[in-house]
């Protein structure tokens, strides 16, 4: 197999490639934050009676909350802020398909590139 000689990249090309990667990083990490998609969905199950008993806190728990500087009123939004786990099957299936598709592409494309590497490396010997 003939040895592959890569083209030399110009300085401008290198700067452009760096810019592409930086922009991609910021879009991937920053966009979900900007669009408000990041963070788990929690909501407060409000109670009318704001007492330690109503909040499900025994005397030991209540004493610790008070030691931490909380009253039943100020602790209410912490204690009653709960996750509501609902499995959204279409989203789950999309997520699974995206993940599986990504890994399948990675391994198949990598294997094609790897064969070139191995052929060049070991055919030289």
């Amino acid at each position: 197999m003939s040895r592959y000689t890569p083209p030399e990249q110009s300085k401008a090309g290198q700067v452009f490639d760096i810019a592409v990667v930086v922009v991609a990083i910021f879009v991937a990490l920053w966009l979900p934050l900007k669009l408000g998609l990041a963070g788990a969905a929690k909501s407060i199950d409000a109670l009318d009676a704001k007492t330690w008993e109503a909040l499900g806190q025994n005397p030991t728990m209540a004493s610790i909350w008070e030691k931490l500087g909380y009253t039943p009123e100020t602790a209410h939004d912490i204690i009653q802020n709960r996750f509501h786990y609902i499995i959204d099957w279409p989203t789950l299936i999309i997520m699974a398909a995206v993940l599986i598709g990504y890994f399948v592409f990675l391994f198949r494309a990598s294997d094609r590139e790897y064969r070139d590497v191995i052929n060049e490396k070991f055919d030289d010997k």
Binding site: P7, I25, L33, F83, T91, M95, V98, L106, S110
Partner: protein, 468 residues
């Protein structure tokens, strides 16, 4: 100037070839791994209590501990054989292929940079909380942390990891001191586990909460695999890397168990699940000013050690990408005097600073976890391919992990569970990140790869892999 061991791990400065220095021992490997991870005991793990309750946090502590034990076993075998900077990146390059290696390096850079961001936010918030001064914000503390640690990394790896060893050891000792100060063998005096974790509140969301808790359970140990980044800078990779990594994992399992026991015995799960400073709060709740101040200082030191190690690891992964021309080769320069990948360190600095100011703590943690779990999924498949392409006896391995393929299967299954856990809270972030990796992979495969020399990427003195 020192001549490099392999022809592609050097850079040429004024006609001389310089490489990374081989100056580290097993203690530095331990300090790098545990230093990165230990901050997870000081913040982050406790968000798993928020997702599933106090008992769920304990269950995931042990089950995720199993995941990481598998990671450490697998990593020790592959890294003791593929000893090159970039760690899992170098493994992927030799075992799976260039595109996978490119992705793995990005997983590493994202996981460590976002972990560094989380550390800096924690440090800034902790100082602000301690100061209690109206109007004081964490911004200046975050900026100072990231810039000073980047400078430390710029100046040299030996000094960086010596500093890490000392501050990690102090932070670790503080957990042990806290544990023995609260009479762990006696319930009722200081610790009140029976009254705080009851049959009625142990699993407030049931078993779905336990699965959801996996997401932040990862934070107990995330980063231990970073020990492999030092592969080109340790004096004896075959001995130091497995020894340092496995010792680090044992250290962390003990610290995680002690941390859960003390914290769950001192505060209600609803508070434990939202506090940014579980161990510092535990120190406060003992009523001892000495313990409170010790845990405050230890929280800062753990955050510093972690951020320090993360800068070290992220820069080496980025450096490796430049060296192989997966990214512009400008990044592959080694500093002529300090022998560090200084351009990579400087390039990642503003990225870390930017995200420290736009993301909050649990978002930054989630970004880091996402990249970490993608990487562990790769590792479980990578070890199967490694054993298939080079069966035992075909090449010299520094360490051979037992029970193969059980650790790989366990690791893969736990990764699937963790993806589901992330879906339960942060599914859109996961899809956004995978979409990013997919698009950047297309860019690499169809455009960037043309600049890469083919055969030069394979640098290990191994026979041709079976099946090729």
């Amino acid at each position: 100037m020192t001549v490099a061991l392999e022809n592609n791990i050097t850079t040429t400065i004024h006609g001389d070839r310089v490489s990374l220095l081989r100056v580290l021992g097993p203690a530095h490997v331990w300090a790098l791994g545990v230093g990165i991870v230990l901050v997870g005991e000081f913040t982050g793990w406790n968000f798993s209590a928020d997702k599933g309750g106090a008992l769920a946090a304990l269950i995931v502590c042990w089950v995720v501990g199993l995941l990481y034990t598998s990671v450490a076993m697998i990593d020790s075998e592959v890294t003791s054989t593929v000893a090159a900077a970039g760690g899992q990146y170098a493994q992927a390059k030799h075992i799976v292929g260039p595109l996978m290696a490119f992705n793995v390096a990005l997983f590493l850079v994202f996981a460590y940079t976002m972990l560094e961001v989380s550390d800096a936010i924690l440090l800034g918030d902790t100082i602000v909380a301690k100061a209690g001064v109206e109007g004081l914000t964490h911004n200046s503390f975050i900026a100072a942390t990231i810039v000073v640690l980047a400078w430390l990394n710029y100046r040299g790896v030996l000094m960086t990891l010596n500093v890490n060893f000392v501050i990690t050891a102090i932070a670790y000792v503080s957990i042990v001191v806290l544990f023995f100060s609260v009479s762990p063998w006696t319930q009722g005096a200081v610790l009140k586990l029976n009254e705080l974790v009851t049959p009625g509140n142990a699993l407030p969301y049931g078993w779905i909460g336990v699965i959801a808790a996996f997401q932040f359970g990862i934070w107990y140990y995330l980063g231990i695999e970073g020990t492999t980044q030092a592969a080109e800078e340790v004096r004896s990779p075959a001995r130091s890397l497995p020894y340092g990594t496995m010792a680090g994992m044992i250290t962390l399992l003990i610290a995680a168990a002690m941390t859960w026991y003390v914290c769950a015995s001192l505060m209600p799960w609803e508070y434990l699940g939202i506090t940014y400073y579980p161990l510092w709060d535990a120190g406060k709740l003992t009523g001892s000013p000495l313990l409170e101040n010790l845990l405050f200082i230890a929280t800062l030191l753990a955050a510093l050690a972690s951020a320090n190690g993360c800068i070290n690891d992220a820069a080496r992964a980025w450096f490796s990408l430049g060296r192989d021309r997966y990214l512009p080769s400008w990044f592959s320069a080694v500093h002529p005097k300090y022998r560090t990948p200084y351009r990579s360190i400087l390039f990642l600095l503003p990225i870390a600073l930017a995200f420290a100011f736009i993301a909050d703590l649990n978002q930054a943690i989630t970004f880091s976890i996402l990249s970490g779990v993608l990487q562990y999924t790769f590792m479980s498949i990578n070890i199967m391919m490694f054993r298939k392409k080079w069966p035992l006896g075909s090449i010299r391995r520094g360490y051979t992990h037992p029970f193969h393929p059980l650790p790989a299967i366990v690791l893969f299954c736990l990764c699937v569970v963790t993806f589901f856990a992330i879906f339960l809270g942060f599914g859109s972030q996961l899809i956004a990140m995978v979409a990013f990796y997919f698009l950047i992979s297309l860019w690499f495969h169809f455009y960037r790869y043309k600049f890469v020399r083919r055969g030069d990427q394979f640098t290990m003195p191994w026979p041709k892999p079976q099946g090729y």
